[in-house]
């Protein structure tokens, strides 16, 4: 998966988790939680969706990598390099 494809995957997950939010102006360098209503249970949904859809296992001590869109894509890029969208 390319970086734009990974971003697209994350956006699709966020749209399902926060269906009332407008994500069209999401700033990739700013924390998700500063731009949208996202509590810890929602955050776990991101981890769960990645696990279900792409079998990506994210250990708890690495959750901090999912702070912003940029950091999330950076973190997932090597893990999803050989995975098709």
């Amino acid at each position: 998966m390319t970086r734009p494809e990974i971003r697209e995957v994350i956006i699709e997950i966020l749209e399902r988790i926060a269906p009332d939010e407008d994500l069209s102006n999401l700033d990739d360098s700013v924390a998700f939680r500063e731009q949208m209503e996202l509590d810890s249970m929602d955050f776990l949904d991101i981890v769960m969706e990645l696990r279900k859809q792409y079998r990506v296992q994210i250990p708890e001590n690495e959750y901090e990598n999912l702070l912003t869109m940029d950091s999330t894509v950076n973190y997932l890029e090597p893990k999803l390099a050989d995975v098709a969208k």
């Binding site: 399902r16 988790i17 249970m41 949904d45 696990r51 279900k52």
Partner: protein, 424 residues
């Protein structure tokens, strides 16, 4: 029961919110009950191979709930939120200025959590039963207080909330708990009733089928046939019936419209069997409710029966009603399940609420699909197939019984127009 308008033990219904398979508000629901319109439809349920019928609701989930709230919550929560908001809107309460810590939510449920548990098991079955994909939402969705708790989250209610697990006696039980908490002055407003999401669990259909108690008919509208000789079981339905209950002096002080007064109630237990009912205990429960209301059987105008169209259930209730009410022809006995199926935790609430407008129009809605009454269900007062015009409707008695031998009865009295009665 005191006639004093200042008696704080007198509890009245001041708002109604409901969703049923044949109507999402009291006006439509009542109109369909009078018109003989069923809400039973063909239904798909996971795993069950035989054709299944059910009563399905069509209310707008997003009228009072954000999409995210709905995703986080349950269908039972969504039913509850819709009905609670409808009841509050109908009550005319100035909600902004209601003290939220003095509001209690008491919702009867037959069961809760099966839907979510079945969904999660199905989900992990797609991942070779890897429990790492079991949702972190499972626990908050399946805790027994979930439906009532979702109402408090949605409406910012900080008073007590709980669900009342009472099998199919739960709708009445919710009203009874609300009434008791108002009398105890634990709360100033009770949001009370019963709800069900049962059609979304395959287990309830499969279990009734295994028990030989799941109804079927080529024409879905004819499938639920209480008291009929050709009845063949239960139609599972979802729904909700929730009221705002208030102490009479509080309701009068704010000039509330009043649907009726709950003047009697009772609950008891058969202590006999897991599923088979007992006419003796049922008639004792009815009699206890009459005694508490200071009434005799002759005072009751309409009995809203529980009968689910099972073989034994209908026979036992018929015996119980004959024992208490005899053959008095001025009594009307009707049955709402014949229209909407068995709405489980919501059944008692919906069945009572569909009859309450009778105080005004003096019409007892029918029991449909009663083509040939089972001689073992010998009740001469059953309103068969067409509504019956009554000389008077002062008191409605509502039966609601459930598995493990739980019985509940609620009696509602017409309220006079000069004090706010809307159905007078």
């Amino acid at each position: 029961m005191s006639d004093s308008l200042q008696d704080h033990h007198r509890i009245v219904i001041t708002g109604v919110g409901l969703t049923s398979p044949n109507g999402d508000n009291l006006t439509d629901y009542r109109a369909n009950l009078l018109a003989g319109k069923s809400g039973v439809v063909p239904f798909q349920t996971r795993y069950v191979k035989q054709p299944v019928l059910a009563g399905v609701c069509h209310f707008d989930e997003f009228l009072y709930q954000k999409k995210k709230e709905r995703r986080r919550g349950t269908r039972a929560g969504s039913v509850s939120i819709y009905c609670a908001n409808e009841a509050l809107k109908d009550s005319g309460l100035d909600w902004e200025n209601v003290r939220k810590n003095r509001v209690g939510v008491y919702l009867g449920i037959t069961e809760h959590g099966n839907v979510e548990t079945e969904n999660e098991i199905y989900e992990i079955s797609q991942f070779d039963y890897d429990t790492k994909v079991w949702s972190h939402h499972h626990n908050p969705r399946t805790v027994a207080n979930n439906p009532a708790g979702e109402v408090t989250l949605n409406l910012g209610i900080t008073g007590p909330h709980l669900t009342v697990g009472a099998a199919c006696a739960a709708g009445n039980a919710g009203f009874i708990y609300g009434l008791q908490m108002l009398r105890l002055k634990e709360v100033d407003l009770a949001i009370a009733g019963g709800i069900s999401e049962s059609v979304h669990t395959f287990g309830i259909f499969a279990s009734f089928a295994s028990q030989g108690a799941l109804a079927w008919h080529e024409d879905p509208a004819k499938a639920c046939r209480p008291f009929d000789v050709n009845r063949n079981g239960i139609i599972v339905s979802e729904g909700g019936g929730i009221c705002t209950l208030e102490r009479l002096p509080d309701a009068l002080a704010r000039g509330a419209k009043i649907y009726g007064e709950i003047v009697g109630y009772a609950m008891n237990s058969d202590a006999l069997d897991f599923v088979l009912p007992s006419s003796t205990r049922q008639s004792e429960c009815v009699q206890l409710a009459l005694d508490r209301a200071g009434l005799t059987a002759d005072d009751i105008d309409i009995v809203s029966s529980h009968a689910t169209a099972t073989e034994q259930g209908d026979i036992e209730e018929s015996k119980a009603l004959r024992a208490v009410f005899g053959d008095r022809p001025s009594l009307a006995i009707n049955n709402t399940k014949s229209f909407i199926g068995h709405a489980m935790g919501a059944a008692g609430a919906l069945e009572l609420l569909g009859n309450v407008p009778s105080f005004a129009d003096r019409i007892a809605h029918a029991t449909i699909n009663l083509d040939q009454q089972d001689p073992r269900c010998e009740l001469r007062q059953v309103v068969a197939n067409r509504p019956r015009h009554m000389e008077k409707v002062e008191y409605i008695l509502n039966n609601s019984f459930g598995m493990l031998g739980i019985n509940s009865v609620v009696i509602v009295k017409k309220f006079p127009a000069e004090h706010g009665g809307v159905y007078a």
